[in-house]
Symmetry: C2
Subunit: 412 residues, 2 copies
């Protein structure tokens, strides 16, 4: 297949893409192909108006009355319900607030208490670092140990030590390779061993057609500034399956999670429902602006987003296979086994990323040798995908990746 | 003294107030006297431009590159240093991020680990509820117990059980009564017993002339949306005295606190310095907008803010004494013993607050019988203070406070 063939196919796919119009909902800088939406999603145009309203009217004019009049108090649960609609969860099981790390800590400390007869937390050794750090901290607090394995090995670990395993914690998509794990199977295996299962959705929420309730997931966390396009550091969320809500006794017993926060009682009593996963006053300006990102999803179905995402990554993989046959694609080629990014391995990955950025293709580098390209299906085109492969070919042909000074990477 | 005398004195004090001009830095709704700045400070005019810049330029245009180009990565420590200048702390000891509750959890879990031979956390039974809840959670994790007393009783508790006390945790100002405690003395007493001391600054930072370093405070937390006027839910901060930084091993071991976050190591190693108190990705839009509040303090000294605050609350207390002799003022009359609010007790406190709000005087109610009036010295006038007492007199004279339906209070 020639470059012209690839471009023609891309144009055809763009023309037939049912969610192509959503691209206009974003502000995208001229001359840039933004392949870092899996790190920080671009700005939905609606964010401008929401942020302005929160600052100038809600804060500036309504002031403290906004807690009631502008519904600040209920925002974490209300916005949680909006996210629930994107991850296959019934309302009342997701609350927004805090960072992913803090929400992991809630889940892990609660899970340890829910399985007092167990003592092992099984997780993926290749998890995003913060998941491992928080797992170790929560395990240490509860007198548990962390067992590091890889997701395909989890059934074997459970077969051998299942009686001791209290929690299996995995990510739905590997942040480095882009591989999507079999959440349905992992949750089933955990449950068969009497363990709980938690899933980190950071690299799947807003990109994949998740089914938390149907998959019987016990807990999940996720961030909102990647594929949900919520803005820099927009708050994360935590999902607790309805059947566990009465027993979700996490360690961060802040007053927003109290059954009667305004009674100002000196003794903690957890709220009914998902509100017990609230902690302190949420970062409202960040939280409410996140709604601009969620508004974009109102006009589509997650199944269509997933289809478009797979079409983009699939075409990019095809283009790399044709144009750069020497390059190792780390991400699985099988559609069901990949998220919404494509990672390639190269000893000079850092230099490749730097050279691509100079050409206007913003991807990112992950230690030690990964070029990571995120395909945000709401705003990228198939032509973008082919152009990225063409740019990659040009970078290598012109040796633009050589002798780059390795400076600090950006943030996942 | 007559109403005319009070008003004349107020006008004289306003004319002589060296920080009176700062009022123009805020957007204040017409017809409102805003006495809830101790709950949510009003909007500094500069917030509009900062929020717009963060959304439209930093996020919308610079995108992921903002982590480096707009200094997002270092913002928590950089802004922490700005707050350090307002609380008598040298740079490098404060980091901004997370909520007050989460920061309390960091402090309490770290303190428990720093005093392995102790087992008691002594605190004020009248602390803001979240302080008590988090103290109980951290104590429970460490196998400690919480001893609830009142700040004046702390020396006696230490004399009796000091060998067992690992941490004394108090607020610098009681959120309900507005009483300021003797932090210098409490810290000294804690240290003499071999205990650590932490202070909650929520109701003093930005209003009082704090001296954390000189007072030998070990840890402090505070929020930024009250007297710092940082915006709704703007992130809190934590102070760790320089001498403790190498041993501050809190439980929230998120990747932003790692020594080499971008090495993506699977094993946690705490950063040098105050960055180890970082956890996850901060709510940047909220965090950066907070700087508009800090900018206002660039043009003044905290000693002048404190003087103006005491002048406002002092005049209000005088006016209440003259106009409402039957009313119980809960806040100490002695200047050194009060923060920046005046609380009065009345069996129909809820109705009084509701009636005052209808007259344009926005105070708040605290269970069960407290009318709480915050005097933000950056934006209130002495005439406002006298007018508030006059309005209070009018409410009671006209029985406007009777038969009010008790609805949910707003947020501290």
């Amino acid at each position: 297949m020639s470059i012209d063939d690839l471009r023609g196919r891309a144009a055809d796919l763009d023309a037939a893409n049912p969610i192509a119009a959503l691209r206009d909902r974003f502000q995208l800088p001229d001359g840039i192909v933004y392949l870092t939406g899996n790190s920080l999603g671009p700005m939905p145009r609606g964010a401008r108006e929401i942020a302005r309203d929160v600052v100038e009217r809600q804060w500036g004019t309504d002031l403290i009355r906004s807690w009631n009049d502008n519904d600040w108090w209920d925002a974490p649960v209300r916005i949680g319900d909006r996210i629930a609609g994107l991850v296959g969860a019934a309302p009342g099981q997701i609350v927004v607030g805090d960072s992913t790390s803090v929400n992991l800590f809630k889940v892990f400390t609660a899970a340890v208490r829910m399985r007092p007869d167990r003592r092992l937390l099984v997780t993926d050794a290749a998890s995003f670092p913060t998941d491992l750090y928080i797992a170790e901290s929560a395990a240490d607090i509860g007198g548990w140990a962390v067992v590091r394995t890889s997701p395909p090995e989890i059934p074997a670990v459970l077969a051998e030590r299942g009686d001791d395993v209290g929690l299996v914690a995995v990510s739905s998509v590997d942040y480095r390779t882009g591989e999507a794990w079999d959440i349905t199977g992992i949750v089933r295996a955990a449950h068969e061993a009497g363990a709980l299962a938690s899933v980190d959705l950071c690299h799947s929420v807003g990109a994949m057609d998740l089914r938390l309730d149907a998959d019987d997931v016990d807990f999940a966390v996720g961030c909102t500034y990647k594929y949900l396009n919520g803005g820099p550091g927009s708050p994360a969320f935590v999902y607790v399956a309805e059947r566990h809500l009465d027993h979700f006794d996490h360690a961060l017993t802040g007053w927003h999670g109290h059954a009667e926060p305004f009674a100002m009682s000196g003794h903690y009593a957890a709220s009914a429902g998902i509100a017990r996963a609230r902690v302190g006053t949420p970062a409202l300006l960040s939280m409410l602006t996140l709604e601009a990102g969620l508004d974009v999803f109102e006009d589509t179905a997650m199944a269509d987003v997933r289809t478009a995402s797979l079409s983009l990554t699939g075409l990019f993989i095809d283009a790399v296979t044709v144009l750069l046959p020497e390059i190792e694609i780390v991400t699985p080629v099988e559609p069901a086994r990949r998220g919404s990014q494509v990672s390639i391995r190269h000893p000079e990955a850092f230099g490749i990323v730097a050279a691509l950025i100079e050409r206007g293709f913003l991807g990112d580098f992950r230690e030690p040798d990964i070029v990571r390209l995120g395909f945000g299906a709401l705003f990228l085109t198939h032509v973008d995908a082919v152009d990225t492969a063409i740019a990659l070919r040009a970078v290598l042909d012109a040796d633009e990746h050589r002798d780059r000074r390795h400076v600090r990477a950006t943030v996942t």
